[in-house]
């Protein structure tokens, strides 16, 4: 397990550095921020002062070196736009996105598993047709359209929900999550249905039935586990794209998350914030990928990492995975607690 983790961390370090440096260079190729931050009639002198004040007058490799050393000391620089510390802006925004993504994916998975399995019970039956139709619609509906329509129906016409914002209790979560959940539910329900149909035709399911297991029991205890791997792959990808920032939902609903922050910092050529946001997102995606890998291992013994050969380490690794995004090093106790399987 530890070998595996170490290997993954080393493997990810290089891409991380490449991402950080790539963003650094690419962002600077997209235009001179001094024109954005100075008044339209700024003089040559003011431009020079601005460049000097923000270190933009030095050769790019020197700026890059400084930035990189800064990152190693966890100093991400200051926002050009607000003058605030870039890291604190990013750390303030990221939890908002994680909350949104986490709750959305949790609900999406539960709903998709339930309706996908239901549809798979009788392929081409009435339930299957209903589920297939709605899941395809859900996966295909443009989210900005759905969001605006949702606001129009539920906030303006019916007045049941607030239009947007983060203040106002549980109600403010409904529309953003409903919008964000559409695609994952639609896609995952299709996948769960597909793999369940396959699995339900397998001999071991027949064996289970012949031994007198009820249909519900067959589904929940025998079929689901084997049908889960493809769904996990897709759910992982969907989660990654959400952690990357649910830009449209965050923008429409005024949700102060990382996607909105990132798009703003791109448009504003706010290099320090953009770099910090990309770095933390990359880290999160890296952590998430490890979690997904561990999830596979949990579902299917054949893909368990070779180094994690001692059985007792795996469930522990999983418990760690749950919290891995935030505290990678505190898993000792959970490991023990969960090592009973």
């Amino acid at each position: 397990m530890w070998t595996y983790l170490r290997k993954r961390i080393l493997q990810s370090a290089l891409p991380l550095v490449a991402v950080v440096l790539g963003v650094f260079v690419l962002a600077r190729l997209t235009g001179d921020p001094s024109k954005l931050y100075l008044p339209l009639n700024a003089t040559e002198q003011m431009r020079a002062d601005f460049a000097e004040r923000n270190g933009l007058d030095r050769p790019i490799w020197e700026q890059m070196g400084d930035y990189f050393l800064g990152v190693l000391r966890l100093d991400f620089g200051e926002s050009l736009r607000t003058g605030e510390n870039a890291a604190s802006m990013v750390l303030r925004a990221f939890p908002a996105t994680l909350q949104l993504a986490g709750v959305t994916m949790l609900l999406a998975i539960v709903i998709a598993v339930v309706i996908g399995s239901w549809a798979a019970l009788k392929p081409n039956g009435i339930a299957d047709r209903i589920v297939s139709f709605f899941s395809m619609v859900a996966a295909a509906v443009p989210d900005f359209w759905f969001a605006i329509l949702g606001i129009w129906i539920f906030a303006i016409t019916l007045g049941w929900l607030p239009t947007s914002g983060v203040d106002g209790g549980a109600a403010v979560w409904v529309l953003p999550i409903a919008t964000l959940m559409l695609r994952p539910v639609g896609v995952l329900a299709q996948i769960v249905r597909g793999s369940m149909v396959t699995v339900m035709g397998q001999p071991y399911v027949k064996v289970a039935r012949s031994r007198g297991a009820g249909e519900l029991r067959v589904v929940t205890h025998h079929a689901l586990r084997n049908a889960a791997a493809p769904a996990l792959t897709v759910a992982g990808d969907l989660t990654v794209s959400m952690v990357n920032g649910a830009v449209i939902v965050e923008t429409i609903f005024g949700w102060p998350g990382i996607g909105k922050l990132m798009i703003d910092s791109i448009l504003q050529r706010d290099f320090a914030v953009l770099q910090a946001a990309v770095l933390i997102t990359a880290l999160a995606i890296f952590a998430l990928n490890i979690i997904i890998d561990l999830g596979y291992a949990l579902l299917d013994p054949r893909v368990r990492p070779a180094s994690g050969s001692r059985r007792s380490s795996r469930p522990g690794a999983h418990a760690e995975a749950g919290t891995g995004a935030e505290r990678r090093n505190e898993n000792g106790t959970e490991k023990k607690a969960a090592a009973h399987v």
């Binding site: 997209t30 990221f94 993504a101 949990l298």
Partner: protein, 521 residues
């Protein structure tokens, strides 16, 4: 394949789901928590305003930035003198009177009995500190660049109520320029920007919840009339239809920056915003270096058609860079007529003289700069190609647009006719012509020596003479230079709930004076 024990499978799937959940729950620094149920936002005492974006800062010397000024100006901080956006007159605020006491010297009398929100008394010394900080310092304040440029001011507090300001050159509109400087507490650092200013205004900053809202509380020690609302809450949504929805659903009282298709309905109020849209030519690159081609473009644009089909809610066809109401606006200038035949003839004539009229002209247009901007770009491209020009519409973002807009200009992409939107919020044509028409100015790609002389003379004049001098500048430019193709003077729209009454004016988008908002009768 082994058949796994049923109990174990369930446990594992549950654990898998739980791990995804944990990802969300771990991020528990709650951003959207259920406890903060709207604060005072439902209270009758709170005015709720929804802006297009979060102010990047509230630093008072950056109040020339629209998104900062709209919150700061005349609400949190106040200037010495305020320009009445409707009449154009200067009105006393923190300074009660002022006069020119020498060629380059002005004397201002300070209002007495005013205190800052931190309790510090306001006096000439405090005013001097604020002016010095904003104009002469190294902070890189927006007001410095926008209004004063390289010019430094001499500021001296003669006594508690007398401030003397000296300029390097005679400046007849110094009081107008000073109306852009917001006065902040003398405790404000002169060496660094301060995100939350302390001013003398009717409201003080109560809480800034980054990313979410800014709340202001009434300043009970305000020197003037107490404003109607006890609190102001600003939120921001970048989507216009959401801002409109917040007003129609009763979540907000004022929504700024709406367009007619945002669905605000009867609650929308249109008002002129002193913005003018125009094409600006790179007059040093063939074929745009030929005045006939620039004239042809002016003849080729169907301004009436554009205004009536794209902007029927109050925009008017433009003949010059500034609208009526700005000092120097020339009421005798007629908009260029739509004469495509004339345009074609001019282009043919130029072609016969060897002007490469077939060269592709780039037309940079900024995405989402104002409502229906991309449609306008398409229409312009089409109308210019109707008269035989080859135009490439290039939709760009703000930063890219600015690369074209200001010096140093883009010179390696051939001829450029860019769509600009120019707002004159100062009320005086000087701010427009010295940016767009003076040779070497930050937004003038070319100029004309005779026009330069007129512009420089005009700047020194006052009163009726000034009006006439700038009228002459606009007439001369139109006749002999044609650096621009003015298209329309715009209007803006805000949403206003039934709860409140407010009369928007041309500077509402830059300074929303909360003290002018009152509960509806």
């Amino acid at each position: 394949m082994t058949i796994s024990s049923p109990r174990r499978t369930t446990a594992r799937i549950a654990a898998g789901v739980a791990s995804v959940a944990a990802l969300g729950m771990l991020a528990s620094c709650s951003v959207a928590n259920s406890e903060s149920a709207g604060g005072g936002s439902s209270s009758d005492d709170t005015l709720r305003v929804v802006l297009q974006q979060e102010p990047p800062t509230l630093e008072a010397c950056d109040a020339n930035l629209t998104s900062t000024g709209v919150v700061d100006r005349s609400t949190i901080t106040e200037p010495l003198i305020e320009r009445n956006p409707t009449s154009g007159e200067l009105e006393p605020l923190l300074s009660t009177e002022w006069e020119q006491t020498g060629d380059t010297e002005w004397t201002f009398t300070m209002r007495e009995g005013v205190t800052f929100q931190d309790g510090t008394p306001f006096d000439a010394e405090a005013a001097a500190h604020s002016i010095d900080r904003a104009v002469n310092g190294d902070l890189g304040c927006d007001v410095e660049g926008y209004i004063f440029g390289e010019t430094d001011l001499g500021v001296e507090a003669v006594d508690a109520t007398t401030l003397v300001v000296t300029t390097p050159e005679p400046d007849p509109i110094l009081p107008l320029k000073l109306s852009f400087i917001e006065i902040v507490s003398p405790e404000t650092s002169a060496d660094e920007m301060v995100r939350e200013p302390i001013g003398t205004g009717p409201y003080a900053i109560d809480e800034w919840q980054a990313g979410t809202s800014i709340t202001l509380a009434r300043n009970d020690d305000y020197w003037g009339d107490a404003p109607a609302f006890a609190n102001v809450e600003y939120q921001w949504r970048s989507e216009g239809s959401v801002r409109a929805a917040m007003v129609t659903s009763g979540e907000a009282d004022i929504a700024l920056g709406l367009s007619p298709e945002d669905g605000i309905g009867d609650l929308g109020v249109s008002y002129p915003n002193n913005e003018t849209i125009a094409l600006r030519f790179s007059g040093q690159t063939a074929p745009l270096d030929d005045i006939r081609v620039r004239q042809a473009i002016n003849y080729a644009i169907d301004r009436e058609g554009i205004v009536s089909s794209l902007y029927p809610d109050g925009d008017v066809v433009a003949a010059q860079l500034v609208p009526e109401g700005i000092v120097g606006h020339n009421p005798d200038l007629e908009p260029w007529p739509y004469e495509p035949d004339e345009a074609t003839a001019l282009i043919e004539e130029a072609k016969a003289d060897g002007v490469p009229v077939d060269t592709k002209i780039i037309m940079p247009v900024r995405t989402a700069q104002f409502p229906k901007v991309s449609e306008l770009g398409e229409v312009l491209r089409e109308q210019l190609s109707q008269v035989g020009l080859d135009v490439e519409l290039r939709m760009v973002d703000t930063t890219q647009h600015l690369q074209y807009q200001t010096a140093p200009f883009v010179t390696d992409e051939g001829p450029i006719a860019m769509l600009i939107q120019h707002g004159n919020q100062a009320g005086d044509a000087q701010f427009s012509v010295e940016q767009y028409m003076l040779t070497g100015a930050a937004q003038a790609e070319f100029g004309d020596p005779e026009l330069d002389a007129l512009i420089e003379e005009a700047a020194k004049t006052t009163g009726d003479e000034r009006q006439a001098a700038y009228e002459e500048v606009f007439a001369f430019e139109r006749e002999n230079v044609v650096a621009l193709a003015p298209i329309a003077h715009q209007t803006a729209m805000l949403g206003l709930s039934d709860r409140v009454s407010y009369e928007p004016n041309s500077s509402t988008g830059d300074e929303l004076r909360i003290k002018e908002v009152s509960p509806a009768e």
